[in-house]
Symmetry: C2
Subunit: 128 residues, 2 copies
């Protein structure tokens, strides 16, 4: 990753999805969602891995991107999904969030947005 | 993942490491660190993937854990590493953070700790 404007440390979004619809234990769906979410944000997926804990115990997955990552971990017994997306540069993670939201349909959610790598960047002297 | 006490949605730590020592472009080291960090936290690594962008452009990697994940993305030209670890239950991510800190030796850092899945958990009625 270089310091061209669209490769600076970027935005990390953490999403808690509660009271989701069905499908929190569907590994194939998660794999498709990770790929779709990456594409929707203009990101390139280097590797996608999804694991099914089996017997309704949830699924977990990760997309390693050239522009950082997307992850998701489900708790079907709680109706809960933990999702996060970190995209470098000025890329907007909202399309990925929308894709996951449309599929899992949480009745309630909490979204936290964290700008990475800003605290000392002025003093670090690196390019932004 | 189940709702036994050590499997509730847990703690997500985001670490920005600035002015790191050498090695931000060492993919083999990152792979070893991801595995060591998982073990140090008593976590089980399901899959570890590291990618080298080549020519000093940085490395990126993740460890998918039974207890969620660890990720790291480097910017050698900035001397910067973005690291995050999400562990379910009451597991403490500090050992992982220490392992990464000892290796990369940031002169400055910013650590943010986010408790996942708490906002509505009382009303969700799920087990904790």
């Amino acid at each position: 990753m270089t310091t061209s404007p669209n490769h600076r440390p970027g935005t990390h979004v953490l999403a808690d999805f509660w009271d989701c619809g069905p499908g929190l234990d569907d590994a194939d769906a998660l794999r498709r969602l990770l790929l779709s979410a990456a594409e929707a944000c203009g990101a390139r997926a280097i590797n996608i891995k999804v694991h099914d804990f089996g017997e309704g115990a949830g699924v977990t997955g990760f997309a390693l991107l050239a522009e950082s990552h997307i992850s998701a971990h489900s708790w079907p017994e709680l109706g809960y999904l933990a999702f996060d997306i970190f995209l470098c540069g000025d890329r907007d993670p909202a399309p990925a969030l929308d894709i996951f939201r449309r599929h899992y349909r949480p009745a309630r959610e909490e979204i936290r947005r964290v700008e990475r790598g800003l605290a000392f960047s002025d003093r670090a002297g690196g390019g932004r």
